[in-house]
Symmetry: C2
Subunit: 107 residues, 2 copies
């Protein structure tokens, strides 16, 4: 088939899967790391920094935005991308909760 059967899982499970999916690409990991190291709100040097074409980067940024992990502020003809600190910490907490709640009663 090719389509994930989200209907048979609960909201939390699907939510976790979506977050993990957004993070499941090295380009998006690299973009997040790069954005976070910039002192000023540096924008599409991302294209120069990462070795991918501009439409590709733009698409990855869109996916990161889809879960609010980053925000883009328009600054003239440039767009300034920043990590959404609130969401970032929220997600970290959510993932830790997943890892902590999974118990090891077995073997």
């Amino acid at each position: 088939m090719g389509i994930t059967k989200t209907q048979i899982f609960n909201t939390r499970q699907n939510e976790l899967a979506v977050i993990f999916k957004v993070l499941s690409n090295p380009a998006r990991i690299a973009i997040l790391q790069y954005i976070s190291t910039q002192k000023a709100c540096i924008c599409n040097d991302i294209v120069d920094e990462i070795g991918l074409a501009q439409p590709t980067i733009s698409q990855h940024l869109k996916e990161l935005k889809s879960i609010d992990l980053i925000q883009g502020e328009i600054d003239g003809k440039k767009v300034c991308y920043c990590i959404n600190l609130k969401k970032w910490k929220e997600i970290q907490k959510l993932l830790n909760s997943f890892f902590d709640k999974t118990k090891f009663n077995c073997c």
Copy 2:
């Protein structure tokens, strides 16, 4: 194209992406949660528990095994799947390190 350009990213970035990819499916999340709630080393009631066909579950288990997140011990004609506690904690630490190292100097 359709292929991720892993060559242009570093080992850590690719490693993180692979871990996130394995976790990026609600069936695999559900399997991990189910395995972890079982007191005894219960095996493939997983198929009955999750609403997916046996070959599909088998494939998901294989992917979870690919990063050593679970282990399967053969017990007669059954196989007993358990979470690999060591790896589990290792991955949690790795993800936290990723989340912690990402700074917020921006906006």
